[in-house]
Symmetry: C2
């Protein structure tokens, strides 16, 4: 109907509606104008059956509500919708796993791709639920390799964490603590192990490990326990910024101590709240725009070449120095 | 294939995969087990064409990254996925509007429902892009009525704001300021107007309006401007918690003043960060679990009865008193 009214081929109409397709700009505008007059948009359900494309990207999130996840979801949604894709969120159980019911639910959306953490579901188990889609894994290079085809975004923790340890070593700390994240998280595992290696390499003391779960509340109670039960520390590393905020508030408002005079605190993530005046947190950050750009690049590349060999990008980390170490 | 292997009817298989459908639990488990063995899930693209259901709910967000939006997205995703639905996010332009390209994109997903703010797109303009789906509007009862069928969640600001104004009146303030949100936002418009009415009803002074955009940074600069250019205030109301945090940090760390001794601050939203030790913000909150429950109830009710008369729920607000007023 649109092709007829515009005097063009059906292929031209299809191209006009496909972001990035090769078509003359004037022709494209004319087709879109006529399509709007006729109230036509390509019906995605019909198109999905024909092309096997749903234009839906699954985003597996252990906790959509955390500021870090929110900032990543925001960035991915913004960039992917410019390419005509929608993000569908899938929340894991509280132990970070996707169970069978959630995987069945995921499969029924016929996703074009999915962004996944290895602790939520391994590539081999996920594959039958994604049909032809190839997932992208956020990978800390800690687990065993899995032969099922998947793409990977590697996060290299050493550049940022090694600068944090170097900074701290300048104050010759004798007692170091680490507030853990959720034990099921591979990010937590990687951060803890790389930190321990880096401290050992510099001859600094082994960190005392305090239980945590990435939350403000557990960061707060971990700091109280550290000072009231274990006699305190000179430096506290936290598995993420949010638990570092909890520790800072406990140190200042419950224990009446000063940061950084009495104790230094270092976070991880560099979320926007870390720059807020009440915290001014020194923290190790992932470059979020680079992470989003890499993920989107791999998704688009994979959709063009479904059978290509595994893609792999690596992003790095860096230290942002504010006011909580000294 | 599954029906044959399980020795049941096709209808029974369909029911086993439909959350909430009437089927014996043992029979359901048997069917799901056999379906798993055969690697079968109902294909949503095929089912969408047959039933016209995509099981996708659109969520229009002006700013996915704000803590308030993140907490709402998290709650909605969690509850809706239990009912077999996926949330797809649609970000508006920075002026909060959805343009034609975004609406065409939205239409192509064949959404079952959408949760929308009136400033992003009016019901009449949205209707042709939703085909048969009926949207739910978050409504502050400020704009003119729109006859196109849509459901509404009304947010009643008076109960919470009137308690905030009553509390403040107990300290007989002579200078009151209000840090505005984004001017395009109907939430901003409603909060400002209800606050002005309530202050006038108690014979309190008209608030000085300070430009803002719901962000920490603008809340921070608005407080600096208030004290450095306009001589300060006894009470500051902020359009949301995040701008109240910015104001608090400016007052304490840049101006060297004390809260609440020198100035009281009241926020709006009651996000989880408002309880953090560094802020302990007195704020007017929407009951988020009630809001999510209402939205989901209306979506499910509407899908059962597509032609029913407009649905309307109302949620209320309340004051949470912490440490920033005195």
């Amino acid at each position: 109907m649109v092709a007829e009214a515009a005097g063009v081929s059906r292929v031209a109409v299809s191209r006009a509606f496909t972001p990035g397709a090769s078509i003359d700009a004037g022709k494209r505008d004319r087709i879109l104008k006529i399509a709007a007059e006729l109230n036509y948009t390509p019906d995605r359900a019909a198109r999905a059956l024909r092309t096997r494309r749903s234009h839906l990207i699954g985003l597996v999130v252990p906790d959509a509500c955390s500021p870090w996840e929110a900032q990543e979801i925001d960035g991915l949604t913004t960039v992917l919708q410019e390419h005509g894709f929608g993000c569908v969120l899938f929340k894991t159980r509280t132990d970070f796993e996707l169970d069978d019911a959630q995987l069945r639910n995921m499969r029924s959306f016929n996703l074009d791709s999915a962004i996944v953490f290895p602790e939520c579901v391994r590539p081999k188990r996920l594959a039958p639920y994604l049909d032809r889609a190839v997932p992208v894994y956020i990978d800390y290079m800690t687990g065993p390799a899995d032969e099922t085809l998947h793409d990977r975004l590697e996060v290299d923790l050493r550049p940022g964490l090694s600068k944090a340890v170097a900074l701290v070593s300048g104050y010759a700390p004798s007692r170091i603590a680490y507030i853990c994240g959720k034990t099921e998280s591979e990010a937590e595992h990687a951060r803890r192990e790389v930190l321990r290696e880096l401290l050992a390499e510099r001859g600094l003391p082994e960190p005392r490990l305090l239980a945590g779960d990435f939350s403000y509340a557990r960061g707060h109670s971990a700091a109280l326990e550290l000072f009231r039960v274990h006699g305190g520390a000179d430096v506290i590393f936290a598995a993420n910024d949010e638990s570092a905020f909890g520790a800072l508030d406990a140190i200042r408002y419950d224990l009446g101590l000063k940061v950084p005079q009495d104790v230094s605190v270092i976070g991880f993530d560099n979320i926007s709240q870390a720059a807020w005046g009440a915290y001014r947190l020194t923290t190790v950050g992932i470059d979020l725009p680079a992470r989003i750009q890499s993920l989107v690049r791999m998704i688009l590349e994979r959709l063009k070449h479904p059978n290509a060999r595994p893609l792999c990008d690596r992003i790095t980390t860096n230290l942002t120095v504010r006011d909580t170490v000294g």
